[in-house]
Amino acid sequence: MTVSYIMRKYWWKILAILFVTYGIIGGFLMPAPDNIGILGKTIRNLNFHVPMWFTMIILLFISLIYSLMYLASGDLKKDSMSSSMVKVAMLFGLMGLATGSFWARFTWGTWWIEDAKLNGAAIAMLIYTAYYILRNSIEDEIKRAKFSSVYNLFAFPIYIVLIIVYPRMAETSLHPASGDTVGFSTLDLDNNLRKVFYLSGLGWILMGVWLSTLKYRLTELKRKNEEI
């Protein structure tokens, strides 16, 4: 049961599709606490906005593992997997920022506001943008892999601090579960949100992993063809 074997299997991809479809249907139609303050029915965005960030975090974590594996083995395939994960993670990060901004406009009344959670997330994105600038600026394959793997080791802890720790330590915040605010788990008294949110989240994570492995397989094909 190697990774490259599981990567080519379909069962978990089918699960990804089923879970996300369930999330879409459930996100609209399930009973939910629809009358909490400025949130109104937008509380259902929980099923779509938050999984973007979960997926990003998981993909970046897997990327970190692959960076470590590259540094331990010197196998360029590991580095290739690591960078594919970061690329797809950035896509999910952008979707997280965009959906969050849109959500903020119609609850807080603004597209963007100086807030620990928002600024933290924005800077976190810049850290991985720098990862790409670093990668693209090095021609030599091995040097590129080494530099970006080491950079990745430092980037991930800083990313986690910016996106989770720093917003929590802030005195005030508008964003749930940061500063002085509570998370949605305290609003979900009869567990209606959880029934959809957990599976929906898992589905999006699997979708992210699927996309990353496709990106990886394509990169590897390209690399092999260039060698010939």
Binding site: K13, V20, I24, F28, L29, L214, L221, N225
Partner: protein, 65 residues
């Protein structure tokens, strides 16, 4: 291609007929229509991903040979 045209025909026929599906779709301010639209978009997107996956698998096999 014939397979798809039969499917399309079946879909268009079911759209004309008054069915329990219509009852659901017209209820609750037609929100189910929105849900169905999103499900269609996501299903097609997922199907495209599956196709892409299969194409890459085929390329990989060709490369190994």
């Amino acid at each position: 291609m014939r397979k798809y045209s039969i499917l399309l025909l079946a879909l268009s026929l079911s759209a004309v007929a008054q069915s329990p599906v219509d009852e659901v779709m017209y209820s609750s301010g037609k929100i189910y229509v929105v849900v169905a639209v999103l499900v269609i978009i996501f299903t097609l997107l997922a199907a495209y991903l599956v196709r892409l996956d299969k194409k890459i698998t085929a390329l990989e096999k060709k490369n190994e040979a």
